[in-house]
């Protein structure tokens, strides 16, 4: 209850401060943890690079030196130093059907983050974020900590901790997601953050973008790999480096279409890494809570991902789709047979896709994020957007193994399971800082016996998310 009171207070403060702050809105960069202007490019903090890549004109030094309010608190010293304070606070009110725990409607913090980002001269950008992603207080961690050096738009180098460049939705900042939750396929099959170095850039007037990097591990999605304990005289099994490659093209930029229609972007990405011996394969979680494909099978060897993506903002509407396949090797994890001890097993394959669409009923453009023309308490009620998504994620053994499915941790044919979900939602952009998302999510599992509610034919989640960010 105290948490609910706290977020209510913050919301009221944000609403009350909106008119004054709005008076300062200008043509400044639209980056931000909770900003509506970010779309994914190649980093964890896409908005930053988007604006940085555009190389906005530096604010007049004489007018803006020192502490400034530029949609968020910041410090400016001419065109050689910029620091912006960033924050994001989100809380969810959720109810589940079936209500397995008998808790009814519950409130939980979903994200609490604070950080800074900015640049030093026009060649060096930086970002540092710290925060929580769950209600669990222990999940607080340094999230994005990186420096990006950009001698030229087509040749930039980024180093530190940030998102491995894979997956359109994964690379979208939390404040600009169209739904409360990322799709199941993004949640399960994309790698998340790791420490590494990446070359990236764009060319041909943003028609082509690329990123290629190497990272110390496979990221924090899913977290907590658990290598097996080495046996006597056995070398410890360790996670290897991950390589990632992503490229997109925006073909309509070559056409004569107006700018707000020509931003169709299609692309693909690939990662390859090595996972240690253990029950470390990718797992499938429901939005509802609980998994439908648990990490119970032994894996070892290469993890590879392949993804395709497309996104297009067309005036007040947008569509996006992704298709991702992951494969986790199981080298030497079989129980053996007459021909071979500890034989290799077929890979565990995760395969999924989603199609999502949005439409801003109040007419604001989607490109660059929804920025309400008439915010609440400024002569309007904000912007309203309706959203919908259909998605599918399934895990199974790769290939066509001949054994019947089994839950044995060394089964050649794992017990497959999949999640099929649709989401209907409404987003209310109260002003540029405050956003309320309402989602109705219905999930159906291929094999409910392996899910969180074996007796339920479908799992329904109703969630309202209150978010404030700058």
């Amino acid at each position: 209850m105290r948490a609910l009171s706290a977020i209510t207070g913050v919301f009221l403060a944000a609403l009350a401060g909106a008119p004054q702050a709005a008076a300062q809105q200008g043509a400044s960069p639209t980056s931000g943890l909770g900003d509506a202007g970010s779309r994914p490019v190649f980093t964890a903090r896409a908005p930053l690079l988007l604006t940085a890549a555009a190389v906005p004109p530096a604010p007049p030094a004489a007018a803006n030196d020192g502490l400034v309010w530029d949609n968020r608190p910041g410090i400016r010293y001419g065109d050689w130093f910029q620091l912006d304070l960033r924050a994001l606070l989100e809380g969810n009110v959720t109810s589940l059907d079936p209500d397995l725990n008998g808790e009814g409607t519950v409130f939980e913090w979903s994200r609490r983050r604070i950080g800074v980002q900015g640049r030093v001269t026009k060649y060096v950008e930086y970002e540092v974020d710290y925060g929580f992603d769950d209600a669990d207080e222990e999940s607080a961690e340094w999230r994005d900590v990186f420096v990006n050096v950009r001698p030229a738009a087509f040749a930039q180098v980024q180093g530190g901790k940030f998102k491995i460049p894979f997956g359109y939705e994964r690379l979208t900042g939390p404040g600009t997601l169209d739904f409360v939750y990322r799709s199941r396929v993004s949640d399960a099959l994309t790698p998340g953050r790791s420490i590494g170095v990446m070359a990236h850039g764009r060319a041909f007037n943003r028609v082509f973008r690329y990123a290629i990097g190497t990272f110390q591990d496979d990221g924090d999605q899913p977290p907590d790999l658990e290598p097996v304990e080495p046996l006597p005289d056995e070398e410890p099994s360790q996670e290897g480096r991950t390589w990632a490659l992503r490229a997109t093209v925006a073909p309509l930029r070559l056409s004569s279409l107006p700018g707000k229609y020509n931003n169709l972007e299609i692309g693909g990405a690939y990662t390859r890494g090595t996972i240690p011996e253990g029950r470390n394969h990718l797992q499938g979680d429901t939005v509802f809570g609980g998994d439908f494909f648990d990490r119970q099978y032994y894996t070892k060897g290469q993890r590879a991902r392949f993804g395709l993506e497309a996104s297009w903002a067309i005036g007040p509407a947008s569509v996006a789709a992704e298709y991702i396949v992951s494969r986790d090797a199981r080298e030497g994890q079989g129980v053996g047979n007459e021909g071979q001890l500890d034989n290799d097993l077929p890979e565990i394959e995760g395969r999924g896709w989603y199609v999502a669409g949005t439409w801003v009923v109040t007419g604001e453009n989607r490109e660059g994020g929804v920025n309400p023309k008439r915010p609440l308490l400024q002569g309007g009620f904000g912007a309203i957007e309706v959203t919908g998504r259909y998605e599918r994620l399934r895990f199974a053994s790769a290939g066509s193994p001949t054994e019947p499915p089994s839950r044995s941790p060394r089964a050649a044919t794992v017990a497959p399971n999949g999640d099929r979900a649709w989401t209907l939602g409404v987003n209310w952009y109260v002003n540029r800082w405050v956003k309320i998302r309402f989602n109705l999510i219905n999930e159906t599992l291929d094999d409910p016996e392996l899910g969180p509610a074996p007796d339920a034919s479908s799992l329904r989640t109703i969630v309202t998310q209150f978010g404030i960010g700058f």
Partner: protein
Amino acid sequence: MVTPRVIAGTMLLAALCMDVRGAVAQTADDLFNDQVVQRIDLWVHTRDWYLLRALPDASAYYPANLKWNGVTVTNVAIRTKGTASRSGVKPAMRVDFDRYATGRTFLGLKALSLNNLWQDASGLRELLAMKVYRTLGLPAPRLAPAALYINNQYAGYYLVVEEIDEPFLARAFGESSGYLFEYKWLTYYYFEYLGTDLAPYAAMYEPRTRETESEGSLYLPVEAMVRTVNEAPDEDFPAAVSPYIDLEAFMRLTAAQAAVAEPDGLLGSWGLNNHYLYRSGQRAPHQFVPWDASIALNAADYPVHAWHNENVLMRRAMAVSSLKQRYRDTLVEAADLFDRTDGEAAPGWLEREASRLLELIRPAVYADSLKPFTNDEFDAAAAGILNFARVRGGFVRQEAARLWPSPVY
């Protein structure tokens, strides 16, 4: 109409229900055929096999493939088992067929045990004792001698033992929908009443079916059984107790255990031990099923009335003439079985069976380098078994006649 799709579907369904590859038309009777030493192969990941042996007390499950008689069963689960016989050198194991695939069976079995004979240098005691029980018509598990191979390496001489579970109940009692409990030895217990609190009964009897039912549903009949055994008036004892215990079956089983000189059974030196309890419904009488006879057939002069007075149920049952007669008759029936020549010259059935089995298992036992006995100790124990088989029938008959002259009422 039988279409190819129907045929394919039927084959897939069959494969899902019984994931076996290789020869067909095998039955559980073939697996428990003691006319041969059954070769059983287990394929286990080398890491899992190391851990299973390094941590035998953990009872952790590990996946394996089992091969028997040309049939391969994939994705079975194995774990260590036993108390005194628990070993990391030569582990006794339970093999579950349905742990990783709900409802799966092999030859109609949900599970089986691989006994390591850690306490039996002869390798025959349980095999012969259970065979005696079954021959007398008592519900008892089937066993067969087995040569176990792990990853194609000989792992020793074992017994493959039928588990006491639903398939066993269906075979032994014709149905399996009731309440099955495994007795857990906690202390010396002689069937005394422990009060109305159900916890002590729950501690002794772990449910093996209907595990999710309430404590009252599981144990109120058990409490009522023990209370009635202790508190029923002498004159009403059979009538009062019969709704709770199949007394005839109890007398036959205890007599059979006495005949094979079982010191660790229902009337054992350590109190009640080594049995399962089954009732087919809430109001049905309980039945006792014997388990683990690894130290039977030892002392040829083991008393046939051992621990009668200490055990409340036995003491009171023996005070009933008809039940005492049943006990005595079963003793004599067992003794006659031991010495039955089947029209041949001596020796009797028990000695012939012991001799045959000893010759059958000797190569497997000799080759077993993991057994905690020497081959000389095996030979000495085998000689002891043969002697027991030779003289036990006469001793039992003599003692029965001395203690309870016929008729006993």
